[in-house]
Amino acid sequence: MSTSYAAHADDHHHHGPDPGLLRWVFTTNHKDIGTLYLWFALIMFFVGGFLAMGIRAELFKPGLQLLDPHLFNQFTTMHALIMIFGAIMPAFVGFANWLVPMMVGAPDMALPRLNNWSFWLLPFAFTLLIGTFFLPGGAPAAGWTMYPPLVLQGGANVAFMIFAVHIMGISSIMGAINIIVTILNMRAPGMTLLRMPLFVWTWLITAFLLIAAMPVLAGAVTMLLTDKFFGTSFFNAAGGGDPVMFQHVFWFFGHPEVYILILPAFGIISQIIPTFARKPLFGYESMVYATASIAFISFIVWAHHMFTVGMPLSGELFFMYTTMLIAVPTGVKVFNWIATMWRGSMTFETPMLWAIAFVVLFTIGGFSGLMLAITPVDFQYHDTYFVVAHFHYVLVTGAIFAIIGGVYYWLPKWTGHMYDETLGKWHFWISTISVNVLFFPQHFLGLAGMPRRIPDYAVQFTDWNMVSSIGGFVFGLSQLMFLYIVVQTIRGGEKVTERVWEGAHGLEWTLASPPPYHTFEEPPHVTEAEAHG
């Protein structure tokens, strides 16, 4: 941690950003880069959302109407890749960029140039990836999980997809290194580890997961590349390899990845709830330990995605038990959020609404996860819409709800303006109702046997699919409200105070709203009172 903040001769004083658009290309400022990440994520959210609208339109009724099956498969594959790697992950990194330095009292991220690179790799990676739509044969269509041998039959898009994944991987690893180093090395005096806001804690652990998991994905897709173009037999049984081996390597990355997609959300929710319950977070330390144990266990559960591939019985049992174990620390978290609200003086501003909805709906996703964890019943549920319902509850009403709630919570801090509370509430209620209309029926469809990733289905599934599609269109459209509210808040609105919310704690609330371009050039001294928000 910092000891020597001795005055250092400035070449010349920079108090604000450079003029002109190139500022955004060359910037090393964590707030600028956070903003870039958040805008990039929002754009990708709408691109991925457009694909989702296509999927739901095709599935509105049985038979083929809008998308031919190959294009449909491209839509599902690209929807997932864009939402996971383009929307959710960059949005969380955007939050980390904006908030971690302000929350730990640092002048910026530890490695500012590297920080610029982490972001500026992403537009190039997604140009490679999305560009495949315009290649002969179209975009990747074998699912975001890229299982061979199917994915290797993809034609011209395969190499582009693999290299896009490599570049995203570099971006994630560099970004994660920066965040971890900032947290470990840039804290202000007095900001001990166990005084850090929970958002910082969850990001510390997420960064560790990223550094450990992303290289494994890079290895997996590299083997795909050599199998397709250089004659290797990693996933070819005739040569002594095994396509199932890909699934093991992929999910060794993939399961930690789903926690990468949710731990920062846990962090955001753990900041919002205490503010509006006007009580400190219940069980702060147990939250830290629960997060750490989730991260650890997430490395030994991967084959719950592969119960039906024909593993030995011992493997099926091992992965069933470890998966169920992960529900324990997850349960600790849900318990603590509820205990924080218990007898609090609660108010229900928009961020709090999203946070409460998160707690309820994420828990539904956790429960369906537990059902899927039971090996024998997963034989029925696997590759059905039940799985689709599960991961959309944890990812949409989990990760995305936390992101949206977090934006409402910190947008006044970032812009200096209060968002329109009435519109925010409308956005919340329309989204929350429609998202359940969209995804809850998918549980029924899955249990009744509708497979995932198909453009057509048997007629008995029609009713719930129509309901689901209607929910989907409403949910999709209501996100345009979000865009409108955000832009409106940036452009103007009621001025807010430093603290913004009367119950907010933490260093970021001691700064002006919006905070100056450079903050904590002199480190604050952190007292118990301003510790963990």
């Binding site: 910092s2 903040y5 250092h8 001769a9 400035d10 010349h12 920079h14 060359f26 910037t27 090393t28 640092a106 002048p107 910026d108 530890a110 490695l111 500012p112 140039r113 590297l114 610029n116 690179w117 500026w120 790799l121 537009p123 190039f124 490679l128 190499a159 582009f160 290299f163 570099i170 690893i173 290194i177 180093v181 090395n185 840039m186 450990a212 998991a213 290289p215 494994v216 290895g219 997996a220 590299t222 083997m223 290797t232 037999s233 990693f234 070819n236 049984a237 005739a238 040569g239 002594g240 390899g241 095994d242 081996m245 093991h248 390597v249 060794f252 030995p312 450079h518 050039e521 480190p523």
Partner: protein, 289 residues
């Protein structure tokens, strides 16, 4: 250009990262075009590679200049150290993916193909009766044709000795640096780089021999795949490490580094030790066992 923030140096504005992104995009985009049969894409790749090299020279040059002019305080130094350690950790996991493939193939995939462990219900023996499932193998389909393997106690063993000794020489260089013995520092560094290059030459010879005389290629079933992926990827890392050490040698000769202040040297040395340890894993699991 620069605005130091308190004691912690925060650079203001940088053009290197965007250049790196453009270079990487050009290089990999060109590679993808090449793989899809666009014959002139190699030019695109060359352009991309040149941009990346220029970016690295520029970026590292800037950082070295800042470091030599005393811009970095102890906390910045610590950030670099942490960053390098986590970077090496990520590389360890990159290798782990390929080691995992090797272990999975040897322990599960190949014996299962030969019918082990499925109570007589495995499909392998029906498709490929007579497949023994011993290691090394190019699979029941005899992919790539019969091949011989490289015995552990020939060149690979010599290479082990070379690489382990180079770990020793780089440590001697470090001690010399800490005692401010510039001459010894340069000589030991030179010895390290030389050992690295000898290692690479022998490895290159071994690969050529495998392709020309043993019919052991990247296409020799799962053995050839894991063998060349692991050793080739490691060889790439030795190359990178040797370049890093070479830069350190040149910098030492120019008088850079002080006994207290030499993070770049240490980073290169850490990297070299990491490459060394991976090699020992390779020697044991790829060549020997």
């Amino acid at each position: 250009m620069v605005a130091a923030k308190g004691g912690y140096y925060i650079p203001h504005g940088t053009k290197w990262p965007i250049m790196g992104s453009i270079g990487l995009f050009t290089l990999l985009g060109g590679f993808a075009l090449l793989l899809n049969g666009n014959a002139s894409a190699d030019w695109i790749m060359i352009v991309g590679a040149v941009i990346i090299v220029a970016m690295m020279i520029g970026w590292f040059g800037t950082v070295i200049g800042e470091s030599e002019s005393g811009t970095y305080n102890a906390q910045v130094d610590l950030s670099f150290r942490h960053g390098m350690m986590w970077f090496i950790f990520s590389e360890v996991l990159f290798f782990a993916a390929f080691f995992g493939a090797l272990f999975y193939a040897r322990i599960y995939a190949v014996p299962w193909l030969a019918g082990e462990g499925a109570g007589g219900f495995a499909t392998g023996p029906w498709l490929w009766p007579g497949f023994e499932g011993t290691w090394p193998t190019n699979g029941p389909g005899d992919v790539g044709g019969a091949f011989d393997i490289i015995p552990a106690f020939g060149i690979p063993f010599i290479n082990t000795i070379i690489l382990v000794s180079s770990g020793g020489t780089v440590t001697l260089a470090h001690w010399a640096l800490k005692k401010n013995e510039r001459g010894k520092l340069c000589w030991w560094l030179f010895a390290t780089v030389a050992l690295g290059l000898v290692f690479l030459a022998l490895q290159g010879y071994e690969f050529a021999h495998a392709y020309a005389d043993l019919n052991l290629t990247l296409g020799s079933g799962v053995y050839g795949s894991t063998f060349f992926m692991l050793t080739g990827f490691h060889g790439l890392h030795v190359t990178i490490g040797a370049i890093m050490l070479l830069v350190m040698l040149l910098r030492s000769m120019k008088g850079h580094f002080t006994p207290e202040h030499h993070f770049a040297f240490e980073a290169a040395a850490w990297y070299w030790h990491f490459v060394d340890v991976v090699w020992i894993g390779l020697f044991i699991f790829v060549y020997w066992l």
